[in-house]
Amino acid sequence: MEIILFIITALIALASALMVITRKSPIASVLFLVLTFVCIAVLYVMLGAQFIAAMQIIVYAGAIMVLFLFVLMLLNLRGNQGWENISPARIGLGFAAAGLLLLVAVAWLKTAGSMEVAGLDPEMGTVSAFGDVLFQRFLLPFEIASVLLLGAIIGVVAMIKRKPLAELGEDKEGKVS
């Protein structure tokens, strides 16, 4: 049962990931990316990482995707730029590199044997267990995260809400002495 679910989800994830990089319309790519994220969230649930799965949906499929769409709007993309210029040689090289990577990965997985994840609590991915570690052992990183977010807030506002250039001239006159 679980293995079937895994295979279906993984196949959808891979297929939609492939669609992300092959669609000509960037909007379509973004929508396929959402599908990929949802599938990955399902895989997280199957691994017992419920909290990460929820975050995957809330933060990635939700908020980050909004940002992606806005970036696309900012970029002023028209039509299907950039696809005509890719020579067959480059595509061939790309496939060669991917094939090589696959070869290495298969060889690696064969030698790696089974990666035991012994001694891990099966409940460790639940929201409750996550809250336990986050707010006690990882208390300091939790607070540092707020500093990081504060840096991001001030940074983005500082970059976008700048002093009007007219004020600059005034400053120069007022301050040069």
Binding site: M55, I64, M73, F130, F135, E143, L150, A152, I153, I160
Partner: protein, 118 residues
């Protein structure tokens, strides 16, 4: 895995209900077309002239990125709410410190007028 059977049922219900409604619209509803109905739907306002792929002002991006920051803040509150009783006062203080640092950012956004739409 059996914990997720309700989720599966929910999913089936959602898909079934949506499919049913779509089918009802397609097979039962009358189809009468007029020019107004053929216009693109843009949240009730008149459709924008020309190409829809205009450049957006960078302001949209500012709002989106500020949304993400506070979205992540709320995401942290989710496990905190689950553990709130066990953590007690200690957890409350922790979250207050976290929120206070971000509230400084919020105060800065408001004071700087970053959300004002000129």
């Amino acid at each position: 895995m059996s914990n997720y059977i309700p989720v599966l049922l929910f999913l089936v219900a959602v898909l079934g209900l949506t499919g049913l409604m779509m089918a009802m619209v397609i097979f039962l509803g009358p189809k009468r077309s007029n020019p107004d109905k053929e216009l693109p739907f843009e949240t009730g306002s008149a459709p924008s002239p020309g190409d829809a792929r205009e450049r957006y002002p960078v302001h949209f991006y500012l709002v989106a990125i500020l949304f993400i920051v506070f979205d992540i803040e709320i995401a942290f509150m989710y496990p905190w709410a689950v553990k709130f009783r066990q953590l007690g006062l200690f957890g409350l203080v922790e979250m207050l410190v976290f929120a206070a640092i971000l509230m400084f950012g919020w105060f800065y956004i408001i004071k700087r007028g970053a959300l004002k739409w000129k």
